[in-house]
């Protein structure tokens, strides 16, 4: 464990006041965070809801049943497939870059890292619109590889930056020891560095996966209408004031994220992200 990081340590909260304060904060935060999402839940079961009623007049699962027909299921499976491909490609291509950057063996290292930040730091829509023009010319528009490529462009930064931080957190001493004992760089990497970095790699995989699943702008410009993912489908439904369909789709869209949030909570340690900003 490197010296500068401090694992979160509970400071003693004295007395009822602190406890009440925490409870109040949690309740308030619950309202702020969950409130907007609760509206989706209500709409998803509202079979009939006319103003001025405060709650739906008829409640049922009619619109949830529509998941099994129509484009919704297709959009979901397409989105998940694309996300898996994007994540795999991102990890495989990012590991060499991140490792080299972490070990300061990358020429123009900080500059290269900034290049990966560009798609997130720069406005995406104009660039993706321009990319769509190019993709149409290269016959990539409206295809799954085209969408994967556009997801990769935006998602690589999560893989590269997180894994650079992760590899930096894995101290060089062990590697140096191995190399001094005669191991090659590659062997050292796979047998020593990678196992230690696995939790962080899983963290970056989560970030890329979520990014790709959620991705809307690039998919809208490059993929739609021929390759639609769930976000694009939800947008169309919401635009058409099909509130129930849009809300069902929105909740379905959140499921992978929530599942991952619950399962992988322990991997999103703030320490890994602490190295952001330390170029």
């Amino acid at each position: 464990m490197s010296g500068a990081a401090v694992t979160g340590h509970a400071t003693r909260a004295h007395g009822l006041a602190a406890l009440a304060g925490r409870a109040a904060l949690t309740a308030l935060l619950f309202g702020i965070i969950v409130g907007p999402l609760a509206g989706l839940v209500v709409w998803s079961v509202a079979e009939r809801w006319h103003w001025p009623a405060l709650l739906p007049q008829d409640i049922g699962l009619k619109y949830w049943a529509r998941i099994t027909r129509g484009d919704l299921f297709g959009a979901l499976s397409r989105g998940v497939t694309i996300a898996v491909m994007t994540t795999a490609l991102a990890l495989v291509t990012a590991i060499p870059v991140s490792y080299a950057a972490a070990r300061k063996r990358l020429p123009l290292g900080p500059l290269v890292l900034m290049v990966f930040l560009l798609p997130q730091a720069f406005p995406q829509l104009p660039v993706f619109a321009s990319a769509a023009v190019l993709f149409y010319r290269w016959n990539l528009a409206g295809t799954v590889p085209g969408v994967v490529l556009i997801h990769l462009v935006g998602g690589l930064v999560y893989a590269v930056w997180t894994m650079t931080a992760v590899f930096r957190a894995v101290g060089e001493e062990l590697e140096e020891a191995a190399i001094n004992l005669g191991a090659s760089i590659t062997r050292t990497f796979f047998r020593i560095t990678l196992p230690l970095a696995t939790p962080g790699i899983i963290a970056s995989a989560i970030l890329v996966f979520i990014y790709s699943l959620d991705e809307f702008t690039g998919t809208l410009l490059v993929g739609a209408p021929y390759v639609t993912t769930l976000p694009v489908y939800m947008y169309t439904a919401s635009l058409g004031y099909e509130m129930q369909i849009a809300s069902v789709t929105a909740l379905v869209l959140m499921v992978p994220g929530v599942l991952l949030l619950v399962l992988m909570e322990r991997y999103l340690r703030a320490e890994y992200l602490a190295f952001f900003g330390r170029l």
Partner: protein
């Protein structure tokens, strides 16, 4: 042998960089060029049109993004500070939720939540805080947009801030406490200054993200009045196929984003 291995590792770094250059760099340059072309001729006509039609929207975009930034950091810094000083698993968990809610879902959820007779109004009415025919006025305007943007960015910002705050050694805080500093002073006098580079980076990321936000305004925008720049761009490109003017709007947004990035680089290189 060692040299070959190193060379292979460097070459393995090429695909990732190539993907960015081809998927982002080339389109970026193309849009720059296209902003100065109209019907094959170099011209400034696109920018003239942008000035004529969209100059108020530039101001509006900056204001909305600034408001969103204030809201995010105004809630994010105290929350991250609280979490640094106390252990509150439920709060930490709740704060991670927006990270996993896609941008479009946030847009749609906020649209429903902040609608004139939306969920928020219903809840307030159920709690007896408003009258029966109360309507929410700000849901579709700049404030509603800022709230939605702030909500979405809160998770990542708090995560980044927490990481930076946790990297601050406990001894500094103990020293501050020794001088009688309460929680608030510990946050503002110790944590924030020491985490300044991370805060600056987080602010730049959040600001550029909000300036360039598209999905949330797309879901929440009303039909008239000022719009966020990306909505104008989408209208120009999607409805009219006017790549020239769309690119010109894009260049304006690049300049706005660069302005923020420039300040970050200045802050960090100190």
């Amino acid at each position: 042998m060692r040299r070959t291995e190193q060379l292979l590792w460097w070459m393995a770094a090429v695909p990732a960089t190539a993907a960015i250059l081809v998927g982002f760099g080339v389109p970026l340059l193309q849009s720059l060029a296209a902003s100065f072309m109209r019907e094959g001729e170099p011209t400034l006509a696109n920018y003239v049109l942008v000035y004529r039609l969209y100059r108020q929207d530039v101001i509006y975009t900056i204001l909305v993004a600034a408001a969103g930034l204030v809201l995010t950091f105004g809630t994010g810094i105290p929350l991250a500070g609280y979490l640094r000083l106390h252990h509150a698993a439920a709060v930490e968990f709740l704060l991670k939720v927006p990270l996993f809610v896609p941008f479009v879902v946030v847009g749609h959820a906020m649209r429903v939540f902040l609608a004139p007779r939306g969920t928020l109004v219903s809840v307030l009415h159920a709690l007896g805080l408003t009258s029966a025919d109360a309507t929410l006025g700000f849901g579709q305007g700049w404030l509603g947009l800022a709230i939605a943007l702030a909500w979405k960015h809160l998770a990542l910002i708090v995560l980044l801030l927490m990481g930076a705050f946790r990297a601050v050694d406990e001894s500094y805080l103990e020293a501050a406490r020794g001088f009688g500093a309460g929680a608030v002073r510990q946050v503002w006098a110790v944590l924030v200054p020491m985490a300044a580079p991370s805060i600056a980076l987080a602010a730049v990321l959040a600001l550029t993200s909000m300036l360039a936000s598209f999905s949330i305004p797309l879901m929440m925008s009303q039909g008239s009045g000022p719009q966020m720049l990306m909505i104008d761009l989408y209208y120009r490109y999607g409805q009219h196929g006017d790549f020239g003017v769309a690119s010109a709007i894009g260049v304006v947004s690049y300049l706005l984003a660069s302005g923020a990035a420039y300040y970050y680089l200045r802050a960090v290189s100190r």
